[in-house]
């Protein structure tokens, strides 16, 4: 039964693609199909939770590609969390995307939504993969299916960003990740994700840190410095892409790969006893701090969020490299926590762009008073990213910090986690403060439309004129309040509420994830 659900969740996102293609002339039907597919996929994934929590590990083997290397799927708690995040946020993002894409008058929407569905398909394939080969296959599917999304605008900027995107992701994955996968196969004779790892007793000495390094840097989607440049560049994509893919599905595929490798390929014990991950701890810590400091200085809204993402991803990598049970569980929880928070922030950034044509932090003055609900949601999500209650991020960060206290040599990392929280306050709170407490700049604007034309050249995206007037700010409650379109506001409120819900559900999530580090379910 669980295996059936697993396959349903796997095939629905790709199954809907030909239907969407067939309905390309009827946008409402096409978009409706995608929402239905999203809901069904999410329902299937949720349906597997009780069984997996009870210890079931559904497995489906398609066929053997090489001797001992099948294309196979097997679900365990970590993969289920990633699948839940990717499929669960697909629906709100779809709704948001309809508002955004139509409001922004984007072209080629069918190609856009089909690639979107393919990306979710790939993400679910990664989440459910039973071995490194399957994971790598879908990892590459994800890279290539998101390329048309990143370059959606089709202009020179998009083309350049697309080259960097593909260049870094393919270079790292082929020269390092694939090499590491094949090397592992030669050493261990298998690629199956196995509790306790498959490399214990088969490698020693400098091979361990080298191989781990190949995996960690090779999973370029994790944006570990110095292979992080693709992420800020990918921000040229329409905001729904930045939101779901470059805050959730794609980047989480990178850290998910690293977590999987640490837990199921090396095994925590091997790395803990040999200290094989010591160097990478510092690489991750450096990434956290440097990218946070860069984020402080950026004025472009989406670019600032992108650097924040780089820093938050490095949290997860650091948590994985600490290889203590608490830190690894915390890192796994952070996949969900960060996803929920960051997608909200991106939604808000996109809504600012579409509704009031603001793409810079310095332009947001006073907007909170016009759009209190939206910026209220932003504040909640920002709390989660910083690691403050009532945001879910406070729990994952707590466990990761707790995991840094097991051995004295890890104590500095407690400090790194705390310092980066301070930095996050530094780059997120000014946005809230500007929105709510500073007066709106009225020097050159009578109305939002004119503003847009004034500084069109500075926007990160091409900005066609608004085609559908009904999508410009609505909900005029009184004179001063003009919230964004409901199709965008709804998802924003929903995911912000999700941040709070995750705060309340954190103990359950932690208990659900414990078995991956050998704890009792």
């Amino acid at each position: 039964m669980t295996a059936t659900l697993m396959m349903a969740a796997f095939f629905i996102p790709i199954g809907v693609v030909p239907l969407m293609w067939a309905a390309r002339k009827v946008p409402d039907l096409r978009d409706g199909l995608m929402v239905v597919a999203g809901l069904l996929t999410f329902a299937c994934v949720v349906g597997m939770v009780p069984a997996v929590a009870a210890g079931a590990r559904p497995e489906v083997v398609f066929f053997h590609v090489f001797d001992g290397v099948p294309l196979a799927f097997k679900l365990e708690p970590l993969g289920l969390v990633y699948a839940l995040v990717a499929s669960g946020l697909w629906v709100p993002t779809s709704l948001y995307a309809f508002g955004y894409m139509r409001g922004h008058g984007e072209t080629n929407q069918t190609r856009f939504f089909i690639c979107f569905a393919l990306a979710i398909f790939a993400a679910l394939g990664i989440a459910m993969s039973a071995n490194l080969f399957t994971l790598f296959t879908f990892y590459e599917v994800l890279t290539f299916s998101t390329y048309p999304l990143v370059t959606h605008a089709g202009n020179e900027d998009a083309k350049r960003a697309g080259r960097i995107y593909l260049g870094i992701l393919v270079t790292t994955s082929v020269t390092m990740l694939l090499l590491a996968v094949m090397w592992t196969f030669v050493i261990a004779g298998t690629l199956d994700f196995t509790v306790g790892g498959i490399l214990a007793g088969k490698v020693d000495g400098p091979v361990i840190p080298i191989l781990l390094g190949l995996f960690a840097f090779g999973a370029g989607k994790a944006a570990l410095m110095p292979f992080h440049r693709w992420l800020p560049n990918a921000m040229v994509a329409p905001t729904p892409v930045s939101a779901l893919l470059h805050a959730v599905a794609v980047v989480k595929a990178g850290v998910f790969t690293i977590l999987k490798v640490v837990i199921y390929i090396f095994g925590l014990d091997l790395l803990y006893t040999t200290g094989g991950s010591d160097i990478l701890k510092w690489v991750a810590a450096g990434t956290i701090l440097i990218s946070s400091i860069v984020a402080l200085r950026l004025d472009n809204f989406k670019a600032r969020l992108a650097y924040s993402t780089i820093s938050q991803l490095a949290y997860i990598v650091l948590g994985a490299m600490l290889v203590t049970p608490d830190a690894v569980v915390g890192a796994s929880m952070h996949i969900a926590m960060h996803a929920m928070g960051k997608i909200t922030l991106f939604f808000v950034a996109g809504a600012c762009l579409v509704s009031v044509h603001k793409s810079k932090v310095s332009e947001l003055n006073g907007l909170g008073r016009k759009m209190p609900v939206m910026f209220g949601a932003f504040t909640v999500a920002a709390f989660s990213i910083i690691g403050l209650p009532p945001g879910g991020g406070s729990w994952s960060k707590w466990f990761m910090a707790l995991g840094s206290t097991t051995q004295p040599s890890d104590y500095p990392f407690v400090f790194v986690y705390m310092l980066s929280s301070l930095l996050a306050i530094g780059y997120l709170m000014p946005i809230v403060a500007r929105a709510f407490f500073l007066p709106e700049k009225v020097d050159h604007g009578h109305d939002a439309h004119h503003d847009a034309h004034h500084d069109e050249g500075h926007h990160a995206e091409v900005e066609p004129s608004i085609e559908d007037p009904s999508l410009v700010p609505i909900l005029p409650i009184g004179e001063s309040i003009r919230e964004t379109h409901l199709l965008m506001l709804g998802p924003i409120v929903l995911t912000a509420a999700g941040c709070v819900a995750l705060f309340l559900l954190a103990p359950q999530l932690e208990a659900f994830l414990r078995p991956i580090v050998g704890g009792a379910p």
Partner: protein, 491 residues
């Protein structure tokens, strides 16, 4: 019945070729040639299944037993190769039979099919024969017919391309003949297996070394091993795309097989790698081909030339597999023979579609093509991904075996070089995809329409196969492994 298959395999297309001249009508000839190719494919498959189950088939032509008579000898490796040749022919020939789609003048189309079948005869002959002199005969049949095929291309540059191929090909053929002569002088036999035995006592002599040298250079010219590749880019560029599809997928592959036979069957791995250290020459040249070919491909402005240089790089992978002197390496080389045949054949057919509609093979003329010819463009993208070696495509399977071959020997640097060169493929494939997907359409593209269905389905059969064989490797990886073990004498 099975015992006669090796002979029928060669005789069928040989006899069918003159029939084309008699039939003349281009539509009838097209169907006839396609049927012959399909029948040959069925024979090849039967032989492959038979050899996998029962081992080698030996056939004495005219009842004259070897070593006196000519022996056709089919083991798994030979049958695998015959399957590739006939399989590719079966997919290329139905491509728009008898229509304008071939880009060949209509009154000459029956000659195209005649030459095509003769070329296939030669390739199949090389695949199944166990006789060294017989190899030379079939090399010449193949060469002469392929000069004709290339010269059928539109434009006068096809003639110069065919002529320079003729010069190079003749030198290659002559070298092979010289090598056979020297071996015959030393052993008094022309049967390969017999020759291998009788060469053993005289292995130390300079004559044998020289013979080996002639063999290697001769086969390498035909195979377009770097730096003997000069004839290839022009030939593939100016030949009709269908011919490029067939020749790139089969002719170089059979030459590779001849080289493998020379190395493992006639001279033996102990001599070639133990005494002569052929790998010291072949491995650097292969790596150079992988990089030079890919980098050259990046700078091409014509898509056919781009694919030709890509072939040069891909041949580098195959010879690299040979130079590794291991089962994994040779498996990688052999499986790439098949996989590259599929993807390069498919890609040249894609190009045929594009040039048919656009009347140009310049990359810049394909701006925005993804919108006007979506299925053809998608086929190019998938074939391109396979050239890169993305998992889920056939190219990945080849890369997997080759990298394994390097890693098993502990050569991490070599594994890294293989992977890095595959990145270069991203460079030249994406150069085209970017133009097709992101550039605003030119007038030429704006006024075009999708290729007719009769041109699209053969493309998709081949491109689809690259995905199928990227996941399902029972008939590629496993067979190639058995073939490699057979060639290396481990079975």
């Amino acid at each position: 019945m099975n015992a006669h298959l090796p002979a029928i395999q060669v005789v069928l297309p040989l006899l069918a070729a003159p029939v084309c001249v008699l039939l003349q009508n281009r539509k009838v000839v097209g169907v006839w040639a396609t049927l012959v190719a399909w029948a040959s494919f069925a024979i090849a498959i039967t032989m492959l299944v038979h050899t996998m189950e029962h081992g080698t088939i030996s056939y004495a032509l005219g009842g004259w037993e070897s070593p006196l008579g000519i022996e056709l000898r089919v083991d798994v490796a030979n049958a695998f190769l015959a399957t590739i040749v006939t399989g590719i022919a079966s997919m290329v020939l139905p491509y728009g039979p008898g229509s304008a789609t071939l880009a060949i003048p209509e009154d000459k189309q029956y000659l195209f099919y005649t030459a095509f079948l003769l070329c296939m005869t030669g390739l199949l002959g090389m695949s199944v024969t166990g006789d060294a002199f017989n190899v030379f005969v079939f090399v010449e049949i193949t060469s002469l017919s392929s000069y004709t095929l290339i010269a059928l291309g539109k434009g006068r540059r096809a003639l110069t391309a065919a002529f320079s191929y003729l010069v190079m090909g003749t030198i290659g053929g002559t070298f092979i003949l010289l090598a056979i002569g020297l071996c015959y002088q030393m052993t008094g036999t022309l049967n390969m297996a017999d020759m291998a035995l009788r060469l053993q006592p005289v292995m130390g002599t300079r004559t044998v070394l020289v013979a080996f040298g002639f063999f290697v250079v001769g086969a390498s010219i035909k195979l377009a091993v770097f730096p003997l590749h000069q004839w290839m880019p022009n030939a593939y560029t100016h030949a009709p795309s269908v011919v490029s599809a067939f020749l790139s997928a089969t002719a170089t592959k059979v030459s590779y097989f001849v080289l493998v036979r020379v190395v493992f069957t006639i001279f033996g791995a102990a001599y070639v790698f133990g005494t002569v250290h052929f790998e010291w020459l072949l491995m650097p040249l292969s790596i150079a081909a992988m990089f030079v070919g890919s980098i050259a491909a990046m700078y091409q402005t014509h898509i056919k030339r781009l694919l030709a240089y890509s072939s040069m790089a891909q041949i580098g992978y195959m010879t690299l597999g040979l130079s590794m002197n291991s089962v994994e390496g040779l498996t990688g080389g052999l499986v790439h023979l098949f996989n590259h045949g599929l993807m390069k054949g498919g890609l040249f057919l894609v190009v045929a579609n594009i040039t048919f509609r656009l009347n140009s093979s310049k990359i810049e003329d394909m701006a925005g093509l993804a919108r006007k010819m979506p299925w053809t463009s998608l086929a190019f993208a998938i074939g391109g991904l396979s050239l890169i070696g993305v998992p889920g495509t056939a190219g990945f399977i080849s890369k997997w075996y080759l990298v394994q071959g390097a890693l098993v020997k502990g050569q991490v640097w070599l594994a890294l070089l293989i992977l890095m060169s595959s990145l270069l493929a991203v460079g030249y494939v994406w150069k085209v995809i970017e133009v097709m997907l992101l550039k605003p359409p030119t007038d030429r593209v704006e006024n075009t329409k999708p290729a007719p269905l009769s041109m699209i389905w053969p493309v998709w059969v081949m491109i689809g196969s690259t995905v199928v064989f990227g996941l399902w490797t029972t008939w590629t990886g496993t067979v190639a492994e058995v073939a490699a073990e057979t060639l290396m004498g481990l079975r």
